[in-house]
């Protein structure tokens, strides 16, 4: 079965995408990921100026979770031009350029610095939980702020589709998505890491991460990612494409998040657990599942849960508008 997915005029050979922040520093790295089956790659977050990250330890993990506070290090646009430029010369798969900034104006300025490289999509990181000490709450935690960034980037982005990367650490991801959609967002990446969380070494009594806290990823966050994708899909009536990411390890995980509404699937933490060829493994597993289940069109899975719910006359669950709903 052909696993290719076309969205907003860009064709991806398969739905697996290298998530931002993983193996994403150099063109050589992106090529290796592509050779290992990724349908597209996302760069590490790019800044307008050089930005130092945190000291090590920056990434720690167990079988249940990964915590990271790398702190978004980047050498600035000159390096981005060198690496992206080199990749684009003989581009094997679409490239999504992820940008970050500390102010609304600089999101636009960073987009302007990167757009001449002709990335297939811009992904706007308004949701990193690891630079809060430096810059305060992420833009993704406020609907007006998220919309302001979206508007500013859209003003300069021309024909390049703009995906907004959302945070799960909010009262209502649906409300944030709606605000961004009204401001012109072309799509969403759902979700950034969860938390933040903390881990302490017992003998030294010290937090292990140099930043003390860091974003949570890994298999345990998949249900949160699936729920957030479902909420954003409902809030935007399935009209805007979603890159679903968070705890995706297997072909069945990928299919699950596609049923929630994702057209493409971001793979990150799984690279450390299943190896660099996790992309090819996930594609094989998707193929196998689809063959066994008689699915012959990968796109037919996108948002499948929502259609199933409405066919069964079960109202699609309404995304919560404020706070967590209580069951007792």
């Amino acid at each position: 079965m052909n696993l290719s997915q076309t969205l907003l005029g860009v064709t991806f050979g398969n739905p697996t995408i290298l998530a931002s922040g993983i193996m994403g520093i150099t063109a050589s790295s992106w090529r290796l990921v592509t050779q290992n089956g990724a349908g597209g790659i996302t760069t590490k977050s790019l800044w307008l100026k050089e930005h130092k990250g945190h000291k090590n330890p920056t990434i720690i993990s167990t079988e249940h979770w990964t915590l990271n506070a790398v702190g978004v290090p980047d050498a600035g646009p000159e390096k981005a031009h060198e690496e992206i430029g080199s990749f684009m010369k003989n581009k094997p798969v679409p490239l999504i350029a992820n940008i970050i900034a500390e102010s609304v104006e600089n999101f636009a300025a960073t987009a302007e610095a990167i757009l001449p490289l002709q990335p297939d999509f811009l992904e706007v990181n308004i949701s990193c939980p690891n630079v809060e000490d430096e810059f305060g709450k992420p833009f993704a935690c406020s609907a007006p702020a998220a919309a302001a960034v979206t508007r500013a980037v859209k003003k300069v982005s021309g024909k390049t589709p703009v995906f907004i990367k959302l945070s799960p650490n909010v009262d209502s991801i649906a409300a944030i998505a709606e605000a961004c959609a009204s401001a012109g967002a072309d799509g969403f990446t759902v979700i950034n890491t969860v938390g933040p969380g903390m881990a302490i070494d017992l003998r030294s009594r010290m937090p292990i991460l140099a930043n003390k806290v860091g974003g949570l990823s890994g298999p345990g966050i998949k249900p949160i990612a699936v729920k957030c994708v479902a909420d954003v899909y409902s809030a935007t009536k399935g009209k805007l494409p979603i890159i679903g990411t968070g705890g995706i390890y297997t072909g069945e995980d990928a299919i699950e998040i596609m049923l929630a509404g994702a057209s493409l699937v971001g793979i990150g933490t799984a690279v450390g657990d299943r190896g660099i060829d996790v992309f090819a493994k996930i594609c094989d597993e998707m193929q196998l599942w689809c063959t066994n289940e008689g699915v012959d069109e990968i796109g037919s899975l996108v948002g499948g849960m929502h259609r199933e719910l409405s066919q069964r006359n079960t109202p699609t669950r309404k995304p919560s508008r404020s706070g967590q709903s209580r069951t007792s």
Partner: protein, 280 residues
């Protein structure tokens, strides 16, 4: 494709059992406990509240572990976080040359200690700027089947010059292939059977010279490369080398010379924590 076992991705803290001041700037810490390390592997050493970086393992006998490093700043009494990379590989009975530059002598000693157990004969080329920067000479001398060849840049001990020049002189003789060649002036002892394999650890320009020399003589070599690392288990991408894209924390840090010669940045540049290039 390799990935790092999960249990080694969280730091474990170990007490320091002994501290040995090797030279003015270099110390060896002995930790109570084995990490199950093998020659060629590295550990991510975390000093709580300070930083975490990769270090070569100098020794692990199943009961205790040693690392040798430049001592700078106040050192904590806790350390940890183990990560594994590729191992160096050898066959029993091989005639092996080890090339150690500066504190590269520590992991090369670990290789030496293990290989002599497998009936290997060793030519060990230890080099440093000057006599007081030489490391692990006594330990290496105490091993059987080891011929030690010392080189210092200033000639304060042994051969005056680089240890790779010294190695070159030996290979010129050994690789003629006929057993029983007479010894070469300036190259001490050892039988002169051809060298089967070369291992090297030290500054990158030294490794580059070993790479070129061993390629010239068509001797397999394995080189321990060093790049800035963050995660140490293959997801951050900081230690990826151009243009192969391989990660030195998982596909390395010991890389066979057939792969080294394809690494274009080898001997030219490395990247910092921001991914920015710096020339050697």
């Amino acid at each position: 494709m390799s990935s790092i076992p999960l249990q080694s991705r969280l730091p474990k803290t170990y007490k320091i059992k002994a501290i040995k001041q090797e030279t003015e700037m270099v110390r060896t810490y002995t930790f109570d406990g084995s990490l199950g390390a093998r020659p060629g592997q590295f550990v991510m050493v975390w000093l709580p509240g300070i930083d975490e970086k990769p270090f070569s393992v100098a020794f692990d006998n199943g009961a205790e572990t040693k690392i040798t490093f430049f001592a700078v700043g106040p050192m904590s009494e806790e350390f940890a976080r183990c990560s594994v990379g590729d191992l160096v590989e050898w066959k029993a009975g091989q005639h092996i040359a080890l090339v150690a530059g500066g504190y590269g002598a520590a992991p090369m000693y670990f290789v030496a200690a293990e290989t002599v157990h497998h009936g290997c004969t060793l030519e060990v080329f230890v080099g440093a700027r000057s006599k007081e920067h030489l490391l692990y000479l006594k330990e290496l001398e105490s091993l059987p089947h080891v011929s030690l060849h010392v080189a210092t840049n200033d000639g304060s001990m042994g051969f005056k010059g680089f240890n790779v020049q010294h190695l070159g002189k030996m290979l010129e003789v050994c690789q003629r292939g006929s057993k029983g060649n007479k010894g070469l002036k300036g190259v001490k002892g050892g039988d002169l059977d051809p060298i089967d394999q070369v291992f090297a650890c030290g500054p990158e320009m030294m490794l580059k010279a070993v790479s070129e020399l061993t390629a010239k003589y068509k001797i397999p070599s394995q080189l321990s490369l060093e790049r800035y690392m963050k995660c140490g288990y293959g997801i951050c991408g900081n230690c990826v080398v151009d243009p192969l894209g391989i990660r030195l924390c998982t596909e390395g840090p010991v890389v066979k010379n057939d792969a080294c010669v394809k690494i274009e940045e080898f001997g030219k540049y490395h990247r910092d924590a921001l991914g920015k290039k710096h020339a050697f």
